[in-house]
């Protein structure tokens, strides 16, 4: 059985995840992952068809870092702010230092003229690991329900 303390810590991990992305603190967000992590954004359709095409795939922390550097240095995208709402954090199973955790998300996006809309919603399918007394993500797969991306996709989901 997972302790109440660990449950709270896992919840905090998800809160940090959304907070750092919304605040555009991508380097801090990166530190929520272990070096051998896997991060992907998966259209729900492909998942259901058993197809492996993602919208973003980083097979380790280096690739995730490359994605962030590219966003900061080499990509142009729509001027926007994200607001993550993450809820229904559910610890599906837990053994030793590994937990399988899912959570729902919704991201609202606003533009530079103050207009906004629901940009993306779906759920996270994650694996959380304890490293030096801290919980980190070893896997995050964001499964996108509205997988036909409005406008474009820049900031990770």
């Amino acid at each position: 059985m997972i302790s109440i303390q660990d449950r709270l810590a896992i919840n905090d991990l998800f809160n940090d995840y959304g907070f750092f992305l919304d605040e555009e603190r991508l380097e801090d967000w990166l530190e929520l992952f272990i070096p051998e992590c896997n991060y992907s954004i998966m259209p729900r359709e492909n998942l259901e068809l058993g197809l492996r095409v993602t919208l973003m795939l980083c097979e380790n922390k280096d690739m995730l870092k490359d994605r962030i550097v590219s966003l900061q240095e080499a990509n142009e995208f729509n001027i926007h702010r994200d607001k993550h709402l993450i809820s229904n954090v559910k610890i599906q199973s837990s053994d030793n230092d590994k937990s399988f955790v899912t959570a729902n998300y919704a991201i609202y996006q606003s533009d530079f003229e103050g207009n906004g809309s629901l940009f993306s919603f779906g759920h996270y399918d994650t694996q959380v690991t304890m490293v030096n007394g801290q919980f980190k993500f070893s896997k995050v797969m964001a499964v996108v329900d509205n997988w036909s991306i409005p406008h474009m996709l820049s900031t990770p989901i």
Binding site: L55, K65, R67, S70, E76, N78, L153
Partner: protein, 419 residues
Amino acid sequence: MSINVDWERKDYSRIPYWLYHDKDVYENEQKHIFYGSTWSYLCLEAEIPNPGDYKTTWVGDTPVIVNRDSEYNIRAMVNRCAHRGAAVCREARGNTKVHTCIYHRWSYNLSGELVGIPFQRGINGKGGMDKDFDKTKHGLKKLRVGCVNGVVFGTFRQNIDETIEDYLGPMMSAHIKRLMYKPISVLGYQRQRIYGNWKFYLENLRDTYHASLLHEFLVTFGLDRATQKGGVEMDKRHRHNLTYAHAESDKDSDAKEAYGGVGLKSDTLTLSDPRLLEFKREYSDDRNLAISTMFPNASFQQLNNSLATRQIQTKGIDAFDLVWTYFGYEDDSDEMTNHRLRQLNLFGPGGLVSMEDAEAIEIAHRSSKGADTKSTAVLEVGGKGEISDRSYRVNDVAVRGFWSYYSELMGLEPEGAVR
């Protein structure tokens, strides 16, 4: 609904902005382009391998079913019930023996013929339809289908003069045959909705001037630079185009000089995981980039080992959907499949070298909307006048090629127009 364009130039080096924003223009495009003497991309044969397999798609604003009949022939028809206009097939894909409309259960076979009408003879001799109702006259509207190396095309013009091969011409056919040189397998889909007129995207695909300027990733990480050996080819009528580049065909120093320092950060930036950019040669040539655009609704791409088709679906004057279908080859090793899946980070709605296109199109659409009728876009890079192939990539000649064929189909050509 006649449209009158006051062309400033006969070589399409000036394009009035109102053409992207006009309701009559849009309606005429549906009629003269998507319903006209053109072939449109529908899907890949590999998506519907077995009898009864179907997939739904769009040609312009028209919903279409593509399926394989019991004889393995591919057939396509308009997804609109002959009874009351409802979509007969509501799923994205599946397998069936008949397509049955849920509204009044009219059903159609895999050739689109009407095979069943509930209560056609009424109940206990009462009601039903008159005896003279002829089921054979009320099938789904059929498209003519043509396949090239596993790519499925369709046209609403049953009596179109050109076969699909003629329509594609040697250049496009060769490009498709190169990409599809052995059996493929579909790896998955991406989709995005871009809030701009569809023509902005057709231009974008033909605009090789923007590639290494807008998509800074290409130059920053040395994936593709305008200084590489490459060029632009079109078919005879400038409907389709191909942009290509040869791997490792330029030097860092050439690139630095040509870009004049604009965004060339390759001295300071490198990828921590360079596998993203690895090119595993798999064709008889050394092209690491070959992206073609087919008039009016598709693109076929290779960048390194990322392979995909893109389909454009119009959604009114102000939006279109872009559907990306990624594929590899049936005999790919697991390692190669993983490599392709890794490289598709480059493309799609969040692609490291493609995400910018959506933004460029949306800002062009937004800001050109309020322009007066005299305001135009300027297309003169690579020279004006004659529309022809270039052995270099910094040009927008193929964009003028697009407008030339577009205007011919739409009946908008100025007198003495450059073709």
